[in-house]
Amino acid sequence: MAARFNIVRAARQLTSATRPRPQFACQGWQTQQRQRLFSVSAVLKEKKYTEDHEWIEMSADGKTCTLGISEYAAKALGDVVYIELPQLEMDVSEGDAIGAVESVKSASDILTPISGTVAEVNSELETKPANINKDPEGDAWIAKITVSGEPEGKMMSKEEYTAFTEDA
C-alpha cells in the first residue's frame, strides 16, 4: 500500500508546487498583517474555490469562513455514504486534511485552504451524509473556521473555477 500513498503524496506535491508559499517565517508574519487590509477581505467575501474542489466563504466581519466541497466534486464523487467531520476547536493549518468524504467509489480528504480554528461543524452530515449530494454549496457546508490568516494558495472565483473544471 505504501506505493499508493507515495503516489498520492507525490500528486499533492505536484499540485501544491504551483502555489506560492511563504519561504520564511517572516513572510508568514507579513501575511498575517495583510489580512487587515480592507481590499483583501472584501475580495474574500465572495465564494472562492480551490483546485482541490473545496470552497470557502468569509463571514461579513471577516473572522469566520464557511468551508464545503463544490457541486462539481459532489457530483463526481457520486453517492456519498460517510463524512468525517473535523474536531471542534481543532487548530488547522492551510493544506491540512481536516476530514474526509467517502463515496461508494472512493475516500477523499477535505483539505482546508485556510488556517484557523474549527468553530462549528455541520453535524447533520454525520447522520445524513447524502445531503452533500443535494446541496454541497449551501446547507451541506462542512465546517466553519475562525480564521487566523489569509489563504496562501490559489483561490478561484466561481467563473474561474467553472473554467478550471471545464478545462480539466
Binding site: 500500500m1 506535491q13 499540485t15 482541490d52 467517502e102 472512493s106 475516500a107
Partner: protein, 458 residues
C-alpha cells in the same frame, strides 16, 4: 508547504488516508497509478476523448504503451461510458445513465451487461492438456465433466503461491481457460515457461495452447438474465438454456446469425447470469441485439458496479485479495482443491498446500486467512490495518466499500489465524482512528445461482 506538512503529519496514521478530493477514485481499487486523468470524473472529457496523453497502468504492463480497446469500445462510447485504464485496456467504469449504486441495484433487480473482453481466453488441447493443467492447478480436471467449468488458480512451483485465478471449462477435446487482464503478461510468461518444461519432460504428451485473440466476452448478470438471453437464442438453444445450471456451459446460436457462442452460466456478481464468448466479428452486433431486445430491463454496467457486486458476493479480485504470495488455503479457497488432489498431490506447491490443509495438531494450518468484515462508521479501504483490542496489528484490508445492498461497510482482508472466526470483534484503522469491525461470513449477500435441483439427481 502546508499540504506537505499535513501529509507528513498524517503519515503515521496513514491507513485509509484518502487522497484529496477527486484525485483517488479507481486508483485504489483497480491497480493503476493515481494520475489525475484517470480519476473518476475529474477529467471526464479527456478520458472520453481518448486523448493521446501518456498513461500509466497496471504494473504488469510496460508503461506508456497504448491502451487496448475491446471490440465494444465504440458501443460503450455510444452509451455514455466513462473510461478508465484497467488491465492494459481502456474500460468503462460507469455509464452516463446510472450512478454506480443505481447500476449495482439494477443488476440485483433486473439485469446488466458487462464487457469482459479484456480478459484473456485460452484453449488447451492435445493428449497432455489435462495432465499439464493438473500440474499447474490444484483442480480435479480428470473428474470434470464435459461442458462443466470450475474456479481454479494457477500456482507457482514450490511455494504454491497464486499466479492468477482462473476459470477452467472442459469442452469436447479441449479446455477453455479464462485468465485476468491485469495478469496478461505475467500469465503469458508463466504458461510459456511451464509448457516448455512440460514438453521437455513429457515429449509424448503434447499440449497445444491457443489464445483466442480478439474473441469477445460479455457477462449478462441479474435475475432477468435467462429470460433476456432466451429472446436472442435460436429455439434449440433456448431449450438447452432451461437445463443449463450454474457452472455449466453450452454452445448456442444467436437468432438470425451463424455465430456460434459459448454460453457459461457463471459470473462475478453472485446473481444468476451468463458469460458469453463471441467470435470477434459478431461481438458488437450480438451485444447490441441483446441491449435492443431488453430495452427496459438490461443496461450496460461498468467496473464500478462490478467491483461492489463481486465484493458483496465475497469474490476475490486478483492483485488485491490474492497475489503471488497467497496460497489457496490462506485465500479461503481450499474448496477449489479437488478430493483426489488432496490425496495424491502432484500439483505445484502441493507439499506446502497439503500441509496447510492438515489439522493444526498435525503441524498444519496457516498463519493468516482471508475473511470478510463489516465495519462501523467509515468504510475501510484497501490497505487499512486490522488491529486487536490492544491496538496490535493482526491483519489488513485488501478490498472494501460501502455495500449498496446492505447499506453497511463491507471489506475483505487477511487476519491472523485464530481471529478469523465469524463474530470475532476487531478494529480497523481508518484515517488514524479505530473503527469497530466484526469478522463476517462471506458472501455478504446470499448468492442466487441457478443450481441443478438435487432431487433430480437422486
Amino acid at each position: 508547504m502546508a499540504s506537505k506538512r499535513a501529509a507528513t503529519m498524517l503519515q503515521p496514521a496513514a491507513n485509509g488516508l484518502g487522497p484529496p478530493l477527486l484525485r483517488s477514485a479507481w486508483s485504489q481499487k483497480l491497480q493503476y497509478t493515481a494520475r489525475a486523468l484517470s480519476s473518476q470524473a475529474s477529467q471526464p472529457r479527456k478520458a472520453a476523448r481518448q486523448s493521446p496523453q501518456q498513461v500509466r497502468y497496471a504494473s504488469t504492463e510496460t508503461p506508456k504503451e497504448q491502451l487496448g480497446r475491446t471490440g465494444l469500445y465504440e458501443l460503450h462510447s455510444k452509451y455514455g461510458a466513462k473510461f478508465v485504464p484497467f488491465g492494459g485496456y481502456s474500460m468503462p467504469v460507469q455509464y452516463s445513465d446510472l450512478s454506480i449504486v443505481d447500476s449495482h441495484n439494477w443488476t440485483r433487480e433486473k439485469a446488466s451487461l458487462f464487457d469482459v473482453g479484456h480478459m484473456v481466453q485460452h484453449h488447451f488441447s492435445g493428449p497432455g492438456a489435462e495432465a499439464f493443467l493438473e500440474r499447474i492447478t490444484p483442480s480435479s480436471l480428470s473428474s470434470l465433466p464435459d461442458h462443466q467449468s470450475i474456479l481454479s488458480t494457477l500456482l507457482h512451483p514450490n511455494t504454491g503461491g497464486i499466479v492468477d485465478d482462473t476459470v477452467i471449462a472442459r469442452l469436447p477435446n479441449k479446455f477453455y481457460v479464462v485468465t485476468n487482464a491485469g495478469c496478461r503478461e505475467k500469465d503469458m510468461a508463466y504458461f510459456k515457461e511451464q509448457l516448455e518444461t512440460w514438453q521437455s519432460e513429457r515429449p509424448d504428451q503434447a499440449v497445444e495452447w491457443t489464445i483466442l485473440d480478439g474473441q469477445g466476452l460479455i457477462a449478462l448478470q441479474g435475475p432477468l438474465s435467462s429470460q433476456i438471453l432466451a429472446r436472442v437464442l435460436e429455439d434449440k438453444s433456448v431449450k438447452d438454456l432451461e437445463t443449463l445450471y450454474f457452472g455449466q456451459c453450452v454452445f448456442a446460436t444467436i437468432k438470425g446469425t451463424d455465430a456460434e457462442v459459448l454460453v457459461s452460466r457463471a459470473g462475478y456478481t453472485g446473481e444468476d447470469g451468463f458469460e458469453i464468448s463471441i467470435p470477434s466479428y459478431a461481438t458488437e452486433a450480438i451485444t447490441q441485439f441483446l441491449l435492443d431486445s431488453a430495452k427496459d430491463e438490461l443496461r450496460f454496467a461498468g467496473l464500478g458496479a462490478r467491483d461492489t457486486l463481486r465484493l458483496e458476493a465475497g469474490m476475490c479480485l486478483y492483485g488485491h485479495d490474492l497475489d503471488d504470495t497467497t496460497t489457496p488455503v490462506e485465500g479461503a479457497l481450499s474448496w477449489i482443491i479437488g478430493k483426489d488432489r488432496r490425496a495424491k498431490g502432484g500439483f505445484y506447491g502441493d507439499s506446502v498446500i497439503l500441509q496447510q490443509l492438515k489439522k493444526k495438531s498435525e503441524g498444519g494450518g496457516v498463519s493468516r486467512r482471508r475473511i470478510g468484515l463489516v465495519v462501523e462508521g467509515s468504510p475501510a479501504r484497501e490497505g487499512a490495518e486490522i488491529v486487536d483490542e490492544a491496538g496490535e496489528k493482526i491483519g489488513n484490508v485488501t478490498s472494501g466499500c460501502p455495500s449498496p445492498t446492505l447499506k453497511k461497510n463491507i471489506a475483505m482482508g487477511y487476519i491472523k489465524d485464530g481471529m478469523h472466526k465469524a463474530g470475532t470483534e476487531v478494529s480497523v484503522v481508518v484515517r488514524g482512528k479505530k473503527r469497530k469491525a466484526v469478522v463476517t461470513k462471506m458472501p455478504f449477500v446470499p448468492s442466487k445461482y441457478f443450481k441443478q435441483p438435487t432431487t433430480a439427481k437422486a
